[in-house]
């Protein structure tokens, strides 16, 4: 289930077309669509739905929520797999180092009342920004591990999958934001010049923090989308 920017959501949108359209048109449209055409049609479809026909917003939120739930199943596995390959103490059972943080990754933890009081736009913006940063960091960790643990195909494929899922989630959140009329921020380079010159140990720690934060942010995304689901989905 690897979506590149909203491609999966586009396909689903095909089925939830304008209610004025004939039912008989639906299968024909769907089968006429081939992969490269899909993003084209997405932009076509999005235009009339910017003002948020209730049907498409609910589906958009549902789909994003389901994606986040699906991702949640694998996030702790990623952390464990990652730690296994770094050697002791990382690979020791129950390893945890909450003191390690990355200044380029905002933590998912936030005071409850503050979180509860977030507006829809701000809520989605924070998650979108987080996964944008996570996708970049996961790429960095993949590169590091390809260098430090070249034989670890299991870890490398899990990191690649996580990065693709993060991007997929970003795309889905972007479509919810579009429907709600929230403007999607431009892609920001969160890493800057930070990665260069890091020592091996720093790189190992960095990967741990990234995979840990990926798990925390996925949990948070599920919660955020649950709030939106409660609000907009019947």
């Amino acid at each position: 289930m690897t979506n590149s920017l909203g491609q999966g959501s586009c396909r689903l949108k095909k089925w939830r077309l304008d209610p004025h359209r004939e039912i008989s048109d639906l299968p024909l449209t769907f089968f006429l669509v081939s992969q490269p055409v899909v993003p084209c049609l997405l932009s076509l479809l999005q235009a009339p739905f910017v003002l948020g026909a209730p049907v498409s917003l609910a589906d958009s939120i549902n789909q994003t929520y389901n994606l986040a739930l699906y991702m949640q199943k694998n996030t702790s596995v990623l952390v464990q797999t990652y730690l296994q390959y770094q050697g002791s103490p990382f690979s020791d059972p129950g390893f945890s180092a909450p003191e390690l943080q990355l200044s380029s990754l905002a933590p998912a933890a936030v005071p409850f009342t503050l979180w509860r009081g977030l507006g829809d736009g701000e809520r989605l913006l924070q998650v979108h920004r987080a996964f944008s940063a996570l996708a970049q960091h996961l790429q960095l960790v993949s590169d590091d591990q390809a260098d430090l643990n070249p034989g670890s195909s299991v870890l490398l494929s899990q990191l690649a999958a996580a990065r693709l899922r993060a991007q997929g989630l970003m795309g889905n959140i972007a479509s919810v934001m579009t429907v709600l009329g929230v403007s999607i921020p431009l892609e920001v380079d969160t890493l800057g010049s930070a990665p260069f010159g890091a020592s091996v140990f720093q790189r190992k720690c960095r990967g741990y923090v990234v995979t840990r934060e990926y798990e925390h942010w996925t949990d948070r995304a599920v919660q955020d989308l649950a709030v939106l689901k409660a609000k907009y989905v019947a």
Partner: protein
Amino acid sequence: MLRAAGGGLRLGAALPTARTMLALALLAFGALRAGSGSYLAVIAPQDPTLLIGSSLHATCSVSVSGGDTPTAEGLYWTLNGRRLAPELSQVLNATTLGLALANLNGSKQQSGDNLVCHARDGSILAGSCLYVGLPPEKPVNISCWSKNMKDLTCRWFPGTQGETFLHTNYTLKYKLRWYGQDNTCQEYHTVGPYSCHIPKDLALFTPYEIWVEATNRLGSARSEVVTLDILDVVTTDPPPDVHVSRVGGLEDQLSVHWNSPPALKDFLFQAKYQIRYRVEDSVEWKVVDDVSNQTSCRLAGLKPGTVYFVQVRCNPFGIYGSKKAGIWSEWSHPTAASTPRSERQGSSGACEPRGGEPSSMPVRRELKQFLGWLKKHSYCPNLSFRLYDQWRAWMQKSHKTRNQHRTRGSCPRADGARREVLPGDKL
């Protein structure tokens, strides 16, 4: 990752000096914080590479980042998660903890041993990855083969020591002997960890020089150069369509047929073949050598009524008129066949009077079935135990073998009854 303190990091500077490196590393660890305190710490040296058995002196220097006065008191070292004995570390000054390790063992993992400096409460302050190992040995025993003259696969061994404890990179290189340019093989691990495959652009009738270079953090080594012509190391696919069949009623022979491998059919060569066979429940193979350029062979001296597994392989001998042997192909998939049961077998042992009832239970049951079958399918006046034995053999055969076995004879029948065949029937 690096906390952009104040003016931020300027990595645009030219090759940093050691001091700048330390300062950079210091800022780098701005992200690492001890429990409730807020120390910055850095270990020197970072990522050292060492020979097995050498010693290491390291330092963990703490500096301030917040209100607390940093101190080296209470800090401790761990290596790969295990706390190091206190006598190995010493407080060098107020903010520096030292470590003296001797006689280091090879690294536990290829990503390096984790040497960590911990705060009093156990949290991680800083770390350094140690690479302890040996330089690579000369790779040895390079052997290569070409499948149907189209490609080249080579295999080697890493040298007597083998384990270097460090990630060792192997590169297979080759060049035409008379022309200068070195080529590097790209597809590795095709037949095991120390192998490489060159898929195309190989010249025939001209020698290649091939060697393997091994490199790791501690050094490199190069194997001896092997010189070969592709045509000297040709192998091919196993012979296809291997069939094994009986030779008439001969109970100690089987006939094996096969086709020559199609890939090399256009090239003039004399194939040599080898056949091996074994009894079903044995592990010992018998080999028939010297099967030159034929596509069939008869195996003799076999046991009657036994299932045999047979395999054939091919050697493309004398490619393009050369007098040399090539390399044997893989064995073909095993084909099974059984020799006919011996005629004499049924009548030995049991002391059954002619026409009388046999004494053992299973034989009696079988006999009943047989008589029933006879009644249904034919009308034979000459019932005898010889007939019975022949029927038994026929039952065995129809269960065991898949090969064609033409049988002759039939029971004379009354009108309307179906014609059946019985082995060796003479009535």
